[in-house]
């Protein structure tokens, strides 16, 4: 027992030696080859068929086939089932085959990637699939991580490693080990799928180090901005955490799918019900009539009425099986695929700049796009471009940055507006653009205030600069706002060039100047300002301060009061435009006073108790009696068309919730600038508290009593007077998402027009989506661009990824992807709406045509002694769903449009029926059932009455079974074709071709199958010889067809006409308008750029956390050269990873472990 136990332990734990292949191979660990393909050449057919027959529908048809092979039961020839089944199987087979070939190719591609492996002290290039556990691999910049690696060392001095994670998750590793020489042994946990956990030990020369998740680099990440690094392969191929996590992707199904499954179940029940009625009928008939008919038709041995009834049940199961048509599933798949292609092909969703077309990555969710009720959007990269631009400024009471034409009218800035030429400034950033010439002139003319303004911007910040080549400056800013301000100063001639802990070097209008940096009074959330104290080359001491206007204004010298008024006006204007504003001020300092202050500052900064508070007090002391310089306004650039899109979606009654990792002020500001939050709103609830109790109190109390009494888990929409907004932060959300409060949160949130959740973690994003999904029974869509959005994209019914940017994580886990947020409106209002409309039309029509088809058999049963005789020719039964009625309905449901895309945009209200499930529901299904019932009654009894006692015009037979079958099937096909025509809104050449083509094919096939030749060759298969010729030349046949068509169709026309007149739907109304306007909607009124004046200011546009101040002034920071990112990665990093869920790359600070 002991031995076994020991063995068990050792097999659980992974044991490997670095660089010792022989030793590691003895454990038979999986190498780094991966296999995602499902089949190989030999297993494909059996395995795939096995899988296919596990599907209910296919299994059902095999069951039918077996029934048909029993002669006593078989009421239809075997081919009626086999032909469709084979077709369905082969289509699926072909699709699976092509999918698997793609996977094989991908596997091959991945397995054959090259990586450098250290073998016998030499670096050799190896294929990925040949990499073994225990190998040491060298990764270079921008390379994919080969396997799960234990990080050994990197090229970066402080082991700052930049990593871009793939779709794993947001949590990241923080440390790497630097080992100069490795010959260690690793013991660690067995392969598992936990991304956030790793335990193991590393033993080097008798010393043991604990290893945790923070030292592991996972396969699926990409190395960025790091020249090289070495890693020890711990898990390879299928053992990697990436592979262990894959294969569990959630299979999303649409609500129509669920409804369809329910209906199919219902139909099975209904089928059983019909068959039971018919078999009882057969029992009675056999008992009363059949007994007397045995002279002519003896029964089989031992058969009696009850056995006959039993067999008839199954016979009718076969005949009536067309109510659950196998082609339904295939057709639905084809439809969705077709509509997905239309999305892929849409020029209007193609982004020229990034050369990115829209992509439907999941082809099974289209119609759900037409039913979206809630959109959850990320902010950065989705709504905004994550680019800050210096847009406006007010200097000494004069506002700059607005473009006016000759008449003094304000002009909207577009891409074409003339930009200022900064070529006079060799250090200018070429990407910076500004449109107001007056400001340049002011700088050039040497206005002291303007110069002071830019000098302040160039000095008062914590940006770090790097100059790789002469004159090529790169700024690394803690927040993009700061970067924008410093860049603005740079372009206007006040170039921040470099800094040391004690100095800041500028180039002021071409003159290099060095300032002595005496103190940085850093930013924090309470102070909402930052200051620097510098000594200029002339020795003058100055304090420069920038911060939130309210804060600055409180600290101004009375001299500035007049300027303050003017500036306030400007600030209101900027805020009205949704810009982020800062007020700038300065103050000259006395040498003596400063010395004294500095001492006390030193005291405070070294004190052990209440250092923060003491420092704040000290800062407060010196930041007063400031002289106002002006204000700057920075625009957090929205993606193109975001406010319009949001407005459109809001009109379509889609609720948009913004879930962002950004801080509250930023999020709120974006809420305003993209028109979600509005000044007119009655109230904007802000929930930002730290305890559950406070959160409960802050949640607006609206009719709580009624709510508590309700047991229902579905939260209904409630009407509220006026518009409300809700802003809630991550801390509060954590409490609000708890069991006892989440419904309350949801109710409140749903009553608000706009909901913004800020500072939320990826997990919380998913929780919020889940909450709405679960309790609102509404269709949700999540849209985002980064790794932190992956969880919500996967959770929502539909996930949309913004593609065309560097990160692909969101796209990889999304169902649809495109380059710009604004394409969302086209995806939903045009493609989604059409898809939903088409799918519902398809289903309605499909069920109608099959029920009608089938019910005729039911009525005929009463005339043929319930003997399971079919009404139609068997070939017609086989081909009806396959050929005659297949293409027209597919044509209808691929091409139909109620109104074209322009009208869809003009009237976003057209979207509402989808949200309310109006086009296809259980109710609609019941109506179809009744309609089919009516049609089948007409389709059976009119031909019956017309034919039962008549003859041909030459006195010969026409009331025979074959002629009647032909008449009934022709009537049916014509009626369903006309019905299809009635349902078609949009007659393209293709749909015409399909419809007329199918009808002609029907007649052609019929005449062919009933021809002499076919009969003489396949005598027993085509017994209907001559029927078509002999009956279709009879006037009474055509008169009957005409009458059945009129009787089936006109009531429908009359009903629809009545409804259009009395209760027109929004669809009818828009179609009416479209008809009157001759197809082109009136051009939307051009929106004049709004000029709002707002007293609401965006917060101080800095970062969430404390600034870089400590780093900037600490010696530690400047001992190493600052690694800056290349221009390829414009995102900004912060040193504290978990405070910024928004960015997905992190600098890893290394832990130096020099062994040897």
């Amino acid at each position: 027992i002991y031995v076994v136990f020991f063995y068990f332990i050792s097999s659980e734990e992974r044991h490997l030696r670095a660089n010792d292949r022989e030793y590691n191979l003895s454990f038979m660990y999986a190498n780094n080859a991966i296999k995602t393909s499902k089949y190989n050449v030999f297993t494909f057919l059996p395995l795939n068929l096995f899988e296919q027959f596990q599907r209910l529908a296919n299994a059902y048809f095999v069951f039918l086939l077996i029934l048909q092979l029993i002669p006593q039961i078989s009421s239809l020839s075997w081919f009626t089932t086999v032909v469709p089944l084979l077709l369905v199987l082969s289509i699926t087979l072909a699709k699976d085959l092509s999918d698997d070939i793609t996977r094989h190719k991908n596997d091959k591609h991945v397995n054959n990637r090259k990586v450098e492996v250290l073998i016998n002290g030499e670096l050799k290039s190896e294929k990925w699939m040949n990499v073994q556990v225990g190998d040491i691999v060298k990764l270079e910049n921008n390379e994919f991580v080969t396997a799960d690696l234990l990080l050994l060392s990197s090229s970066e001095p402080l082991n700052l490693i930049y990593i871009e994670t793939a779709e794993l998750d947001g949590t990241l590793i923080k440390y790497t080990i630097s080992i100069l020489y490795i010959s260690g042994e690793v013991r660690c946990e067995p392969p598992n799928n936990r991304l956030d956990k790793f335990t193991g030990t590393l033993t080097v020369r008798g010393e043991t180090f604990a290893l945790d998740n923070e030292r592991i680099l996972l396969r699926g990440c990409t190395l960025r901005n790091t020249e090289w690094c070495f890693g020890l392969v711990v898990f390879g191929g299928p053992d990697t955490k990436l592979m262990q996590n894959s294969g569990k992707s959630i299979f999303k199904r649409t609500s129509i799918d669920h409804l369809m499954n329910f209906l199919v179940m219902f139909i099975f029940g209904f089928l059983a019900f019909l068959c039971t009625i018919l078999s009882i009928g057969n029992g009675i008939w056999e008992y009363k009539e059949g007994n007397s008919f045995i002279t002519f038709l003896p029964r089989a041995d031992g058969a009696n009425a009850s056995l006959s009834a039993f067999l008839t049940f199954w016979s009718y199961v076969i005949i009536l099986n067309t109510v659950v048509p196998i082609s339904l599933y295939v057709s639905v798949e084809i439809l969705r695929l077709g509509n997905s292609y239309f999305i892929d092909w849409d020029c209007k969703m193609y982004h020229v700049k990034s050369n990115t077309p829209a992509q439907a990555r999941t082809t099974t969710l289209n119609e759900e796009l037409g039913q979206i009720k809630y959109i959850f959007s990320d902010k950065t990269g989705t709504l905004t471009q994550n680019i800050m631009t210096f847009n406006r400024c007010s200097i000494n009471g004069k506002s700059y940055g607005e473009v006016v034409d000759f008449a003094g009218q304000r002009v909207e800035v577009t891409e074409k507006t003339e930009k200022i030429d900064f070529s006079w400034n060799s250090l200018a950033d070429p990407k910076f653009c500004f449109h107001d010439h007056k400001l340049v002139e002011a700088v050039k003319s040497g206005s002291p205030e303007v110069r002071a303004f830019f000098r302040l911007l160039a000095l008062c910040h914590t940006v770090m600069a790097e100059e790789k080549t002469e004159g090529e400056l790169f700024y690394q800013a803690q927040s993009p706002d700061e970067g924008a301000l410093v860049t603005a100063a740079r372009n206007f001639g006040f170039v921040f060039r470099s800094r040391t802990p004690e100095t800041i070097s500028l180039v002021e209008m071409g003159v290099p100047t060095t300032y002595e940096l005496l103190a940085v009074l850093d930013f924090n959330n309470v102070r909402k300002r930052m200051s620097v104290i510098v000594r200029n080359p002339e020795g003058k001491l100055t304090l420069y301060c920038k911060g939130a206007d309210t804060i600055i204004f409180e600290r101004l010298h009375p001299l500035s009061s007049k300027l303050m008024e003017v500036t306030t006006e400007h600030l209101n204007e900027y805020a009205g435009e949704g810009l982020r504003t800062l007020a700038l001020a300065y103050k000259d300092l006395d040498e003596d006073k400063f010395e004294e202050w500095k001492e006390r500052h030193h005291e405070a900064s070294t004190s052990l108790e209440d250092r923060e508070a003491k420092l704040d007090a000290i800062y407060e002391e010196i930041e007063k009696d400031l002289l106002l310089l002006g204000a700057s306004a920075v625009e957090d650039k929205l993606q193109d068309g975001v406010p319009q899109t949001i407005e459109q979606l809001a009109k379509a009654d889609i609720k948009i919730w913004v879930l962002t990792g950004d801080k509250q002020e930023t999020a709120e500001n974006i809420g305003y600038s993209c028109n979600m939050l509005r000044e007119e709103m009655k109230e904007i609830f802000i929930v930002a508290s730290n305890t559950a109790e406070e959160v409960r109190e802050e949640l607006p109390p609206i009719e709580k009593s009624r709510f508590l009494g309700k047991k229902s888990q579905v939260v209904e929409d409630e009407k509220v007077n006026g518009e409300y907004g809700l802003v809630i932060n991550g801390h509060s959300l954590a409490f609000a998402l708890q069991k006892d409060m989440q419904l309350e949160l949801l109710r409140t949130a749903c009553m608000c027009q706009a909901v913004i959740c800020c500072r939320v973690t990826p997990l919380q994003k998913a929780q919020v989506v889940e909450l709405v999904k679960k309790h609102k029974k509404a269709v949700t869509l999540a849209i985002g661009d980064g790794a932190n959005d992956v969880s919500m994209i996967k959770t929502a019914h539909i996930g949309v990824g913004i593609s065309g940017q560097e990160g692909m994580q969101a796209v990889l886990s999304s169902d649809f992807s495109f380059a710009q947020f604004r394409y969302l409106q086209r995806l939903l209002l045009v493609h989604g709406r059409w898809s939903y409309l088409r799918m519902c039309k398809f289903l309605r029509y499909f069920f109608y045509k099959n029920f009608t088809f089938t019910f005729v058999h039911f009525w005929y049963a009463f005339f043929c002694g319930f003997s399971a005789q079919t009404v139609y020719d068997e070939w017609f039964i086989t081909l009806y769903n396959l050929i005659y009625a297949a293409l027209p309905v597919i044509g209808l449901s691929l091409f139909d449009q109620d109104v074209n895309d322009r009208w869809s945009f003009q009237y976003p209200q057209l979207y509402a029926p989808g949200q309310l499930n109006q086009y296809f529901s259980k109710m609609a299904f019941a109506r179809i059932l009744l309609h089919s019932c009516y049609s089948s009654l007409i389709l059976f009894f009119v031909p019956w009455a017309a034919m039962c006692d008549t003859v041909r015009d030459d006195g010969k037979d026409i009331a025979d079974y074959q002629s009647f079958a032909l008449l009934a099937q022709t009537c049916l096909l014509i009626v369903v074709s006309v019905q299809l025509g009635l349902d078609t809104y949009y007659w393209t050449a293709v749909s015409q071709f399909f419809l007329w083509g199918s009808l002609s094919v029907y007649f052609a096939v019929t005449f062919t199958m009933y021809s002499n030749g076919m009969y003489l060759i396949f005598t027993s298969s085509f017994p209907f010889i001559g029927t078509a010729r002999n009956s279709l030349n009879q006037p009474n046949i055509w008169l009957t067809i005409f009458l059945t068509t009129i009787l089936c169709i006109l009531p429908v026309v009359a009903k629809r006409f009545l409804f259009i007149q009395l209760k027109p739907t929004i669809n009818d109304k828009v179609r009416h308008k479209a008809r009157q306007a001759k197809a082109v909607p009136p051009p939307a009124p051009r929106k004049v750029p709004r000029r709002r004046i707002s007293t609401r200011r965006s917060g101080y546009a800095f970062s969430h956390a404390r600034g870089y101040g400590d780093l900037v002034t600490s010696g530690r920071f400047l001992r190493i050269p600052v690694k800056t990112r290349s221009a390829l990665f414009p995102h900004t990093d912060t040193p504290v990873a978990d405070s910024t869920p928004q960015t997905y790359r992190t600098i890893y600070e290394g832990l130096q472990m020099c062994l040897d």
Binding site: N106, G955, D957, P1064
Partner: protein, 354 residues
Amino acid sequence: MGKKQAGTGPLSRRPDNSAFKQQRLPAWSPSLTAQTVLPTFYILSLVCLFLGIWLFITVENTYELKVDYTNAGTCERCFDLRKHVIASKTACTCTVSFQVPKLFQGDVFFYYGLRNFHQNLRRYMDSRDDAQMVGRKNNLKAPSSYCAPFDFDANKVPIAPCGAVANSVFNDSLTVVYNPADGSEIQVPLYRKGIAWYTDKNVKFRNPPTNDTFTLQQAFEGTTRPLYWQRPVYELDDTNSNNNGFINDDLIVWMREAAFPNFKKLYGVLNRAQGPFTEGLPPGNYTLSINYNFPVEPFRGRKELVISMVTWFGGQNYFLPIAYLVTSGLILVAAVVLTMVYVKVGKNGKNMEE
């Protein structure tokens, strides 16, 4: 990413700007407006009215006479006799007299009608072998299993034609005698040929190959007649040797199974070559004499003789004309209602505003 990029130019991945891909195919979008719907209704109502009247007049001038002879006249005896299977081989003849009220002008068709005979039962309909009846030599002696139990007789000799359908062929022979007022008796002459579909007679049913030396009887050697038949298949018609075997007209007519349990099948067409029948069937008294063989008692059915005129519209069927007239009325009512609704509600377009 599975998809490959075709090129690397700036617009390389731009989708085609074709009308099809952009869903901008030129299209016609009809809709249900008053201008289209109301006229359609009125016109259709008129069309139906016209068709109804036309058909009604046509059918009014088509005469049909049904003579139920199941147990009428002297047939009561035969009816009782046929109740017993033992007496099935005993011949029985009887007569029924009837009156034709007015002249059946033109071609007159004589049908035998059966009621409550389910030719449309699935097992009954399947019980036949088309391959045998198309004269295939191989199939002649190897009848399809569908014919069971009428495929082989008790001695395992194959039955030709096999199956329940052929076995139950209608085997009464009917003779109609005209009794003019002068007391004479003139047999109504009937064409008993050309009563089946051309395609059936020439394609669907064929005899096994014969020639001058190889007679039909020889061709059918090794088969036996169906159980209920009194004559073998090659001796069905004494008068015309070309009407024997599978191509016997009566057999072909019977083999075309009726769709419904009440049906009539063509028996003969009046030969208008001579005598009082050149105009058609004159009014007066007639006697139907029957060779009563077909038992209907077992299935509680009725047998009848149907004498009918035929027009372009077929026989006398009042359903379509009346249905058209009723439909016409319904459409008119609907049209009026729709017009009223339109004038009152729809016309001003108030409902169409949002």
